[in-house]
Symmetry: C2
Subunit: 232 residues, 2 copies
């Protein structure tokens, strides 16, 4: 194979913002670094792009190492390319965010990476430009969740409408009207009543729904399902 007569080959990293939801708060899966540089500080999960692997494959690899999960929902946010963003060596970072069901992930994988779930609100300072990455990722999550039905990715397979509402309230930091929310979600036709109820309740047990995956695929790009009071 010939090469281009060009000498500026650059190290390429991938960094991933992993969002989770514990029923009350949005959480981030963050790494406490036990390696240099910046050992002891907090960072996003990342890794280098290998020369033999597609970018998308690398993203899946990094997510798998961190969570033990495959087929995670993720999307690219942006590529960060300031010359001095990494003090060791110039490194481009292709930045992704991922949404996972916090209870489905493999805790051993996380521990092996020295990763912990941290409340988004109380997150520590991160290294390099990772703070900015998280800020942009959160904006994108809010943007996307207002227009497309991606919230489900953060919940278990079977979930109740009140759980979904709490998720949206956590994403936007706003209370939502229970009655309007329920009507809006059901009107999308994306939810299937499983016939089961949430047994972990001290009061009236809520209906457990699951996603109609076929409709979900079809309707994903039909906009503004979820634009709502949350966006004011």
């Amino acid at each position: 194979m010939n090469n281009y007569p060009h000498t500026n080959r650059i190290l390429v990293a991938l960094d991933c913002i992993v969002f989770g939801f514990d029923g009350e708060e949005i959480k981030l899966l963050l790494i406490k670094r036990n390696f240099e540089p910046e050992k002891g500080k907090w960072s996003l999960m990342g890794g280098f792009l290998e020369s033999h692997e597609d970018l998308e494959v690398a993203a899946n690899r990094i997510l798998y190492d961190l969570t033990g999960l495959k087929d995670i929902y993720f999307e690219e946010i942006q590529t960060f390319g300031k010359v001095d963003r990494d003090p060791v060596e110039r490194t481009l970072s292709v930045c992704f965010f991922a949404l996972i069901n916090i209870h489905a992930h493999d805790q051993d994988s996380a521990k092996a990476q020295n990763a912990y779930w941290i409340n988004l609100k109380n997150r520590p300072e991160l290294i390099f430009d990772h703070n900015q990455m998280v800020t942009i990722a959160l904006e994108r999550l809010r943007y996307k969740a207002a227009l497309h039905p991606i919230g489900f990715e953060l919940l278990p397979e079977k979930f109740t409408i009140p759980q979904l509402q709490k998720l949206y309230e956590a994403i936007y930091g706003n209370p939502l009207d229970r009655r309007n929310f329920s009507r809006k979600i059901l009107s999308t036709g994306l939810l299937i009543d499983t016939g089961e109820k949430n047994e972990n309740s001290a009061t009236k047990k809520a209906i457990l729904y699951q996603l109609d995956k076929e409709k979900y695929q079809k309707q994903f790009n039909a906009f503004h399902y979820f634009i709502s009071e949350a966006m004011r």
Copy 2:
């Protein structure tokens, strides 16, 4: 400066989809390659990221070389990273789209790059994965223009509402109702009546407006100004 003990440094390119509007059709600024590889075929405008320059600086440089313009509206779409996307050597491509006023750009710059304005609809086959890039760029343009007031970037400083409408009709390939469109646009408060009229008209001369740049900045992220009949 130390380096990471890691050998996979990769060539990084930038490719840019430049959209223009001639009053009737959406156009692309494409390069007829007079260099190898794929000499004689059509491609997007691109270039390599230099080791001393920020990614954003490189994008501006490439756009300037092509159009002679600075401060162009552009945004990153996605980074393309299939291992074999470039047959010469593995090359990552950070892909952008840009919107320019087709009449403001410097024709000499374009000629120097062997670039031509081509109707989006009749575009030729492009090299590598550039066809896919254009497809995704167009989706993003449609998405973004439905939610944010970016159409103005494709028009001259002073423009009429019928011109703006033709632009939106070209973007979505749908006719729009003249009266509703006008009301919707004016209700945003983004347009300032210049007091002038379009003299190039054989019939009633339309009012020339210009963008209220201050409101434009403020309202840019207040969603769904332009969601409309076009999206059906």
